[in-house]
Each structure stands twice: as structure tokens, then as C-alpha cells.
């Protein structure tokens, strides 16, 4: 094994060890204080926030669909219009309209 080979393989092995160590330490610690603060905050406000947006600027649906489970873009500015809210497509979460309630329609023939 030449010196160069040793350096290359050594670098790769060190990088792999660094990654594995990080995963192990992260899993073990699980950001104790961080998770506790997150849980405390949610306990305090009784659960606020679900989607990947800090403020309900366009609507509540991607902020917290419990507050408003419908995307209001369908109502205004143009009723039935296209939903152009960036919250729907531009973040790492997409919460669709909940369908647990609706109007029962009987079709009369």
C-alpha cells in the first residue's frame, strides 16, 4: 500500500466514521433539550402548527389545517379559481383539504 492509497482510503474511512458517529450520537441524544422545548411549547399552546410554514399568510391550511381545513384560495379572489398559494407547493409539507365532512347529495330521478 502506497502513501497515496493510504491517504485516500484513510480519508474515506474517516468520513464514514464521522457520518456513522453523527447518526449514533444524534439518535442517542435526540436533542433532549430541543425536543423538550418543542414539546413544552406544544403543551403550552395545546397544539398549534402542523405544516412547514411559520405564519398563515395565505391561509391556515398549510399552517394548521385544524384551524381551517379548506384552502380559501378556492373562494377568493375568484371563486372556484386556481389555488396559487405557494404554501401548497413550495414547502416540504402539503396538507390537502380534509374530506371528513361534506354535504350529502341525494340524486333524485
Amino acid at each position: 500500500m502506497t502513501k497515496n492509497t493510504f491517504y485516500i482510503l484513510g480519508t474515506i474511512i474517516c468520513l464514514i466514521i464521522a457520518v456513522v458517529s453523527f447518526f449514533t450520537i444524534d439518535a442517542l441524544h435526540s436533542h433532549t433539550t430541543y425536543i423538550r422545548n418543542v414539546q413544552d411549547f406544544q403543551k403550552l399552546v395545546h397544539g398549534v402548527g402542523l405544516g412547514a410554514t411559520t405564519k398563515p399568510a395565505w391561509g391556515y391550511i398549510n399552517f394548521d389545517p385544524r384551524i381551517e381545513p379548506r384552502c380559501t384560495c378556492i373562494e377568493w379572489p375568484i371563486p372556484g379559481g386556481y389555488c396559487y398559494s405557494p404554501d401548497h407547493s413550495g414547502t416540504v409539507s402539503f396538507i390537502s383539504d380534509t374530506i371528513e365532512t361534506g354535504v350529502l347529495i341525494d340524486i333524485l330521478k
Binding site: L15, K43, V48, G49, T54, G90, T98
Partner: protein
């Protein structure tokens, strides 16, 4: 066994011999993998916070319905709801939004008796007197507010508040632009003192359907909406899985587009490689040994690229708090997020990234190497 180890060592030496090609291919792999790993880690981090939000929320979530939208619940029903068998606790809340100067803020109002005795997510103290509030970290930094400062804001009414405390930066993304106050203060701010936007009902396990039945008899002529924790949890998990799936699908496309780039980069110096392979064949190497050598080279480059990509991603998120990149994945945040960007690094995205990188580099080089090793050594060396 010795032969394979020797091939591995030779592959490592070849990486340094073709230094430029190794660096270019590595950089391509890192550029492709880093955003993918970062997006997945932020998604997992927010999902973890979301599940905490679902967990700490009520088992049943009651709002009224008006024109198909959620509307407020009159407080006159609250005492009756509390007496339903199976209800441990019913917490009315006001959740709204208002402008604080030019910044949209979320207002959350809860009665003091419904707040836990001690929390660790606040620096300062909980509000005790009227008009005291807890401010989100981003708001406090933006407006340079400290504990004890007074400020006024207008909802339906103008009110003057005193900052009793500030949420810590790691209390979650939804606390960043939030004003937390007493239920009474929130009601006065919005000019609606006798209603709540929702009532969180905490129930004894297994009693949800009985509570729902009793609620129906209490609210018989009122249009209302009752959501339970399981439905919400389902939609949250689905929402994140869907987006992670979309990101993964988009990145498969990006990886596929990366193949021509890596092909070019891997074929960089292809004529020299052909001669090298020709010489190897002429000196007794067989095709399988040549391909094994190439495979080891790509394996080492993929390992190098994938590990550097994940370490870069970790560094970017954990040390630099997702500067510049966070805004692509979380809405309504600034270039320099003023709260801790949530992230959770899991082994699976790293393994996926490594295999994608290996696939990319192999596709880019294995065919051309096989062609070079299949022809006569004389032709290859020309």
C-alpha cells in the same frame, strides 16, 4: 481475496492519478445530493415537531361551521361540554392573526388555568397580569423587543402589551412569529370576548364516540365540525410523506439528468483511459478484472461524494442554521432564519444518496470501460 484487495488499493491510487476527474465527479455528486439530503432532513425535522403538535393537542377538536369554513364557538356551551362523561378537560382557545406594524403575527389566547405550571421554552416568565404576552423569538429580534418592553398593536381594538417572556429559538417554527396571551386579552384584541375559535377536548381513551354523541345532543341545531386526533395525525403523516415522495421523484429526475453530466465528467480523459485499459489487457488483465477495478473506483468516488454531501448538509443546517436554503423548504422565513431550523438526519436518505451516486457514476463509466476492454488491446492502445 488478495486479488480483490489489491484491485481496491489500485482503484484508490487511480483516484489520485486522475485527480481532476475525481474532483469534478465528486463535486457533481455533492451538488446533486446535498439539496436532497437537506430537504429530507428539514422535512423530517418539521414532521417531528408536527407530531408533537398533534400529540399535545386535544383528542377532539371542536369548531363551528359557517359557509363551509370554521367559525368561532360561543363560550356558553363550554360548561355543558365539560360535564360530558369522558371529557377530562375542555380548553377554549383563540387563534387568529393580526398585524404588528408590518409583520403578520399569529395570536394565541388561552386561559391561565389551562397552562402548565412550568415550561422550559420561555426565557422570562409566563404572563400573570392583564396585557402581558409571550413573544416569538423572530418577532423579538426583528423589533428589538426585550422582556419588560411595552408595545401596542391593533386587531379590532388597539391594546398596549408588555413582554413578559420570549419563546426560545428552539421551541418550534410556529412559535417564531407568535404572540401568546391570556384568553381575555386575545378576546379583547379581536373584539370577541364571548367566543373561542376552537375548543380542545381531552378525553378518557375510548370515549370519543360517546362524547361525540353527547355533543350532538348539546349542539343539535348548530352546524359544527368535530375532528379527532387520529384523522389529523393521518393527514399530517400523509402530507409529509407525499411531499417527501415528490422531492424524491424530482430528484430521481435530477439524478437522471445528472447522468449525462457525470458521463461527460467520467469520460473526461477517456482516450487516456482507453490506452490504459488497452495496456492492462495486453499485460494479462481480463475484462472482469478491468470492470472490477472501475467498479471499485466508482464505489470510492460515490462514498467520498455521499459522505461529504451529508457532512456538508449537516454543517449547513446545524451550524449555519440553514442559511439561504431554509427558505426553499419552509414558507414565510427570511434568508437568515431567526429560529432553529428543525432537522432530523436519518440513515435511510444517506443510504439512498450513496446508491444514487453509485448508480450515476457507474452508468457514466462502466459502459465505456466495457467497450474499451472488449476490443483488441492493439486497437485500444492506438
Amino acid at each position: 481475496m488478495n486479488k480483490h484487495i489489491n484491485l481496491l488499493l489500485l482503484a484508490a491510487e487511480n483516484l489520485l492519478r486522475h485527480r481532476t476527474k475525481t474532483i469534478v465527479v465528486c463535486l457533481c455528486v455533492i451538488a446533486i445530493l446535498s439539496p436532497f439530503i437537506t430537504a429530507i432532513s428539514i422535512s423530517e425535522g418539521i414532521r417531528e415537531q408536527s407530531l408533537a403538535s398533534v400529540e399535545e393537542g386535544g383528542d377532539l377538536y371542536l369548531t363551528f361551521d359557517e359557509f363551509g369554513r370554521n367559525t368561532s364557538v360561543p363560550l356558553k356551551y363550554l360548561e355543558e361540554i365539560r360535564t360530558i362523561f369522558g371529557v377530562k378537560k375542555a380548553v377554549p382557545r383563540i387563534i387568529g392573526r393580526a398585524y404588528f406594524q408590518n409583520k403578520l403575527v399569529v395570536i394565541v389566547g388561552i386561559n391561565k388555568e389551562d397552562i402548565p405550571d412550568s415550561v422550559s421554552c420561555i426565557s422570562g416568565r409566563m404572563f400573570e397580569n392583564p396585557n402581558e404576552v409571550i413573544i416569538g423569538n423572530e418577532l423579538a429580534r426583528h423589533f428589538h423587543l426585550r422582556i419588560g418592553d411595552q408595545f401596542s398593536m391593533r386587531g379590532q381594538q388597539r391594546k398596549v402589551f408588555t413582554a413578559a417572556g420570549v419563546f426560545t429559538p428552539d421551541s418550534g417554527i410556529w412559535g417564531a412569529s407568535l404572540l401568546f396571551m391570556s384568553f381575555k386579552d386575545a378576546g379583547e384584541l379581536f373584539g370577541k370576548p364571548e367566543v373561542a375559535t376552537d375548543i380542545q377536548i381531552y378525553s378518557i381513551p375510548g370515549h370519543n364516540s360517546e362524547i361525540a354523541t353527547d355533543l350532538y345532543s348539546i349542539l343539535m341545531n348548530e352546524p359544527y365540525r368535530l375532528q379527532d386526533k387520529q384523522i389529523i395525525e393521518l393527514f399530517v403523516k400523509k402530507g409529509f410523506l407525499l411531499k417527501e415522495g415528490i422531492f424524491t421523484a424530482l430528484y430521481v429526475v435530477a439524478f437522471a439528468l445528472g447522468i449525462p453530466a457525470i458521463l461527460v465528467a467520467s469520460g473526461f480523459g477517456l482516450s487516456d483511459r482507453r490506452k490504459e485499459i488497452g495496456i492492462m489487457k495486453a499485460t494479462g488483465w481480463n475484462t472482469l478484472e478491468v470492470l472490477e477495478l472501475i467498479t471499485f473506483e466508482q464505489l470510492l468516488i460515490s462514498l467520498l461524494g455521499a459522505t461529504i454531501a451529508i457532512l456538508l448538509s449537516i454543517f449547513w443546517i446545524r451550524v449555519f442554521n440553514g442559511i439561504f436554503i431554509g427558505q426553499f423548504f419552509i414558507a414565510e422565513i427570511t434568508l437568515l432564519p431567526k429560529f432553529t431550523v428543525p432537522s432530523k438526519f436519518l440513515p435511510l436518505p444517506f443510504l439512498l444518496s450513496f446508491f444514487f451516486a453509485l448508480l450515476l457514476t457507474m452508468v457514466g463509466s462502466i459502459y465505456s470501460s466495457w467497450r474499451a476492454s472488449s476490443v483488441s488491446p492493439v486497437v485500444a492502445m492506438k
